[in-house]
């Protein structure tokens, strides 16, 4: 009960802290317009007018991924800058329980990117929001956001250890967009990317949303996204304990 309360209070407060950042708010306003535009022009030029909604959904998932990636990395780095990383890590709790609310909060704030991309697509480009399976779409979106939050815990473990976490976050953004098939179908990518894509929760989350949008077997993809995310959560829990110890040995919890 105490653990659930900690997760809930922590998630709410971190979401509040992130959503009050002028930088985060500006990004949240601008990036979805850019992504919606990108998706629309990409698909129009490819002569695939009928798949515009699918494109907007893919662009929205890109936004969720960016939010989790930069949120997890950025939040850990921000906490290091503002001196709170040491304060929360020295609480008598499992390190993963302290970090997980931060990554889930980034997933929740990332939901805005998905919704905003769809809204901008509708407003600016007249994309009709006709989902093949509307209920499945909502479930898939929730699973995708929570799943990415869990994946974020695994990423955050690295960010706790590295003082220059932002550098790693920058290099991971585009490869995961591509490999997960958020915008470009995985089938057009080289064969070696297939196994990489298969183990990423982002691949299955994006596929579930696409299938809910244009029709297809949504639930197996949802189940795979959730399953892989739970494995990430488990591994994240195990790794975070070790990482915290290494960070204390390497003195990386503080700036200097």
């Amino acid at each position: 009960m105490s653990t659930l309360r900690l997760l809930l209070v922590g998630t709410l407060l971190h979401a509040k802290q992130i959503s009050r950042s002028p930088f985060e708010v500006a990004i949240a306003l601008v990036v979805p317009v850019v992504q919606a535009t990108l998706a629309v022009y990409l698909f129009r030029s490819g002569g695939e007018q009928h798949r515009l909604l699918e494109a907007a959904v893919g662009a929205g998932v890109m936004g969720v991924w960016s939010s989790v990636l930069f949120g997890s990395g950025g939040a850990i780095q921000n906490q290091r800058w503002q001196g709170t990383l040491e304060m929360i890590m020295m609480a008598p709790r499992r390190p993963a329980l302290v970090i997980l609310p931060i990554t889930i909060a980034t997933g929740i704030t990332g939901t805005y990117a998905l919704l905003a991309t769809l809204a901008w697509g509708r407003l600016l480009y007249g994309i009709r929001l006709d989902f093949a399976h509307p209920v499945a779409f909502v479930v898939a979106a929730v699973v995708c956001v929570v799943g990415l939050g869990m994946f974020g815990l695994l990423l955050a473990a690295t960010f706790v250890l590295m003082r220059n976490a932002n550098a790693l976050a920058n290099t991971l953004e585009y490869p995961v967009w591509l490999v997960s098939g958020m915008l470009v179908p995985i089938t057009v990518l080289p064969a070696w990317t297939v196994p990489v894509a298969a183990i990423l929760p982002t691949t299955w989350g994006a596929r579930a949303l696409r299938e809910a949008t244009s029709g297809g077997p949504v639930w197996p993809s949802v189940a795979l996204c959730l399953g892989i995310s739970l494995i990430c959560l488990l591994v994240g829990f195990l790794v975070m304990g070790r990482v915290e110890r290494r960070a204390r040995a390497a003195a990386t919890l503080a700036l200097a």
Binding site: S2, R5, L6, V9, G10, L13, K16, Q17, R20, S21, W81, Q82, G83, T84, E86, M87, I88, M89, M90, A91, P92, R93, V98, R245, R248, A249, A251, L253, A254
Partner: protein
């Protein structure tokens, strides 16, 4: 607590290793703490004094589990800081000076609620405890304002409230009065004194001698990563026994004149503190040698202000200890 002592440090050492550059990496090592040993009794208010870079914060961070010692052992409340981290963390609070360490975009109440959850304060206890602490630190009525609008003093008081949420047995205060105005600093000293009076063990680091003198039962002077002296303020003052101090306010003293003063018979130490246009020249000498006349003779032709000859204070003792290190 099972142990006789609240804090035990035995030959603590900490080396920081850093690597810079990718193609031709350069490795650097800094030995921040080199074998620190001391004990702090339960309910004692213990001071750790030292110049910048002496190893005070590193020592505190090893004791409060934020850093793993390179070697040596430490126990807090009888629990090993490396092997029994969780038990140690339940029993300690940590407050440091400065602007950092709080969620600026949240209110004081949000900050305290979050840390109350992190420290496992029972939900039905939280409201009462938070209200009690807001009263204690004088932030009642301002708790719903965002921390980013707080003054340095208010932030510092919020830090203290946060550190006390779970009623820790041991409180680590790392330069809590840094940048705080004199009135707020006095309030802070009163709060710290009250905490120690009610049985909380306090380990305090500070640059302010008067603060250490007023508050601490015992003080360890740390310099260059080692403890140079340890004792009650009265015992430490004895390090300046046999000294006499001459203070001269002057304007435009050249370095050469200071060097000449250092060479005068009976002079042990000289120091110059610059306060705007004014230079405060402090000359430590053997008590049986009257150096005032010689000092004034050497400063002939230089515009002087107040000249004062006095008994040494704890600060003079501290300077003598650190200078001898």
């Amino acid at each position: 607590m099972g142990s006789d002592y609240a804090i035990e440090a035995d030959d603590l050492r900490r080396t920081y290793r850093a690597r810079t550059g990718w193609l031709k990496p350069t490795r650097t090592e800094v030995e921040a703490v080199r074998g620190v040993t001391f004990e702090v009794g339960r309910g004692e208010l213990f001071g750790l004094l030292g110049p910048n870079g002496a190893g005070k914060t590193t020592t505190i961070k090893m004791l409060n589990t934020l850093l793993i010692p390179t070697s040596g052992t430490a126990r807090v409340g009888g629990f090993d800081v490396v092997k029994q981290t969780k038990q140690v963390r339940r029993r300690i609070g940590y407050v440091f000076g400065g602007d950092r360490g709080l969620y600026d975009r949240l209110s004081a109440l949000d900050n305290l609620r979050y840390f109350a959850e992190l420290y496992g304060v029972a939900p039905r206890e939280q409201k009462r405890r938070i209200a009690e602490l807001l009263d204690l630190v004088g932030l009642a009525g301002r708790e719903r304002e965002r921390v980013e609008g707080y003054s340095r003093g208010m932030r510092q008081r919020l830090h203290i409230a946060r550190g006390l949420l779970h009623s820790p047995d041991v409180l680590f205060l790392d330069e809590p009065s840094i940048g705080v105005d004199p009135v707020a600093a006095r309030e802070l000293r009163r709060t710290v004194g009250d905490l120690a009076a009610t049985g909380t063990t306090v380990l305090l680091t500070t640059h302010y001698m008067a603060e250490a003198d007023e508050l601490c039962d015992r003080i360890a002077v740390i310099s260059d990563g080692c403890i140079q002296a340890l004792g009650t303020p009265a015992e430490l003052r004895k390090h300046a026994d046999g000294f006499r101090v001459v203070e001269v306010e002057a304007y435009g003293v050249p370095d050469t004149a200071v060097d000449t003063l250092r060479g005068l018979p009976g002079v042990r130490e000289t120091a110059v503190e610059v306060k705007g246009a004014l230079q405060l020249l402090t000359v430590h000498s053997d008590a049986h040698v009257d150096v005032q006349g010689d000092v004034l003779r050497e400063l002939a032709g230089i515009r002087l202000g107040r000249v004062n000859s006095r008994e040494p204070t704890l600060e003079d003792a501290y300077v003598a200890i650190v200078s001898a290190a």
